[in-house]
Symmetry: C2
Subunit: 331 residues, 2 copies
């Protein structure tokens, strides 16, 4: 009997998808960050749903407020990566009977804070009894179909770019889960990336409105996995000529003699946008981001080669398909 | 420290709601069956999310297929009760690593079956590791705002009506959870109401299109609780002159000398529509239901009295606010 733990999340989803009838005219195929339904007149309703399970997803030291806020951020991030402004958040909660009302109210404040930060509203949800705290969030927004930035669309020659620096969360998890130490100022900065993450919603909407983007994804499963996901949907490969690493991750890597590239590539729960742009549209994309106070960082190029590589000191090194995958990573 | 188990689901929701900023122009207030967002031009996007937790919500003997199908039915039922035709279903899954891929595929078939039965499509979801099987379902559809049947709107003098007979599930749970016996033919019929429930989606859409309905709810928390929910939203009371009981529940009650009224009133997980109609519109509502093969059953009237009552042999007996409530009922 093959279990879910044997095959991992991606093979499991593959196995499930073959049983579903495709909705005619589905604006976004399976395997993208969001789900969508056509509203007619060129407009689409866009959803995402993402579940946070206390035991697996909430590291020690994280408050109920922070966990609830993060449930909003991770759902809104997927909408932002598609260029969609989130309008509403629904929280479906599983709660053990022993949890205090105070803690649940703290979670309510976290949902409210997360939603309002990005201009959305909590419009309801559902509460249930469960053996652990479960937050199944749903994000909703609408967009003109032609403005939707999909995973599909990258072409060889496009510039690969991102909105920020990587490595903070990977370093933070090393500190939280593996006991790596760091001076207080460094440690607090790293932990902030895990406890109080920020989604690139404004940036995603700006990029979408610029019309300059050929494909886009958020980096929530780690930069490497995001590239493999773009590869899968767009049928292309990537050559990374630059790996933007956060200052905190650099300090942390130096302190513990860790491979900096691994921290940046194989982390997760980072919510930067990773996207591709036709070279002729690059200035337009830069300008769009600059207007919302964000700098476009060029990572490299889209290629038609066989692998995804990182160029370091003139040498091409393959980037592995490694990062967080449910059921497998936690074994 | 007050726990969730101390206060129960309704007080908990009340405590959470006070932290949320109301979305301007929210088409449906909190405490209705669904959530909604205006799409402009008089149209609204309507959602529902409802979680099924294996340990609490899946009785023995129910297959993975049936549980998954039921997760769709319970979400679609809420949309149907508002007159909304469900277009899409999203399944956010929590799964223990030990569950077999075969069982998850059986669940995928259940989602597909449930969605297609009511004309909807499974458009995606999310999988996660969890200590128990959790299905957090999301249903989506759109409707003209003026066609939305809310809980708010019942007025004294309106006729109170429903789409079917009650008591099957209450009897089935007595058999499943308390060991009450019954002949095979009866038992199987009762269990079917729990394992393979049906939502009144076509009926809800027909009623909504008739324009005859002043308020509506589904009976998923039991008939009595549904009446109290309508009371809360519409600010009215009810006088029930008839209690339509299913044939199976009648046989079961006779067999075990149980109070038939209690089976019909205080059950749950029944998906009939309970609605109110202006007397002048009653024929129109009857006709609308008749066209989709359903008979409108008159339960009684909306009143401005102080309590909800059932008239039996000319005597008024109060209907209690009792039924399924998370955290409290299971204690």
């Amino acid at each position: 009997m093959t279990t879910v733990g044997d095959v991992g999340e991606r093979a499991l989803i593959e196995a499930m998808l073959k049983h579903f009838t495709l909705m005619p005219g589905m604006p976004v195929p399976f395997w993208d960050d969001v789900m969508a339904v056509s509203l007619g007149g060129g407009r689409v309703a866009v959803f995402n749903t993402d579940m946070l399970v206390w035991e697996t997803d909430v590291p020690s030291g994280m408050t109920h407020f922070q966990a609830a806020r993060k449930a909003v951020v991770m759902n809104f991030s997927d909408l932002g990566a598609k260029g969609v402004r989130p309008q509403a958040f629904l929280a479906s909660l599983g709660l053990p009977g022993e949890i205090t009302v105070e803690n649940v109210e703290e979670m309510a404040r976290g949902f409210e804070a997360g939603a309002r930060e990005y201009g959305g509203y909590v419009i309801g949800g559902d509460t249930n009894e469960a053996p652990d705290i479960i937050v199944s969030g749903v994000a909703f927004g609408t967009i003109e179909e032609k403005r939707l930035m999909k995973r599909l669309g990258a072409e060889p020659g496009d510039v690969l770019a991102t909105t920020g620096h990587f490595g903070d969360t990977a370093a933070a998890f090393k500190s939280l889960l593996e006991g790596y130490e760091a001076p207080d100022d460094l440690r607090l900065g790293l932990l902030r990336s895990v406890y109080m993450p920020e989604a690139r919603v404004t940036e995603g909407v700006a990029l979408s409105e610029s019309g300059a983007i050929s494909a886009s994804i958020d980096s929530s499963d780690g930069l490497a996995v995001s590239l493999y996901d773009l590869m899968r949907s767009s049928g292309v490969r990537f050559k990374l000529e630059c790996l933007p690493v956060s200052e905190g991750a650099s300090r942390f890597a130096e302190l513990h003699d860790l491979d900096l590239g691994s921290l940046a590539l194989y982390g997760g729960e980072e919510y930067e946008l990773v996207f591709t742009v036709r070279p002729t549209e690059l200035e337009k994309a830069k300008e769009a981001l600059s207007k919302v106070g964000c700098r476009l960082i060029e990572l490299g190029h889209v290629t038609a080669k066989r692998t995804i590589v990182l160029v370091e000191n003139g040498v091409e090194r393959p980037i592995e398909k490694r990062g967080w995958e449910h059921f497998v990573s936690s074994k």
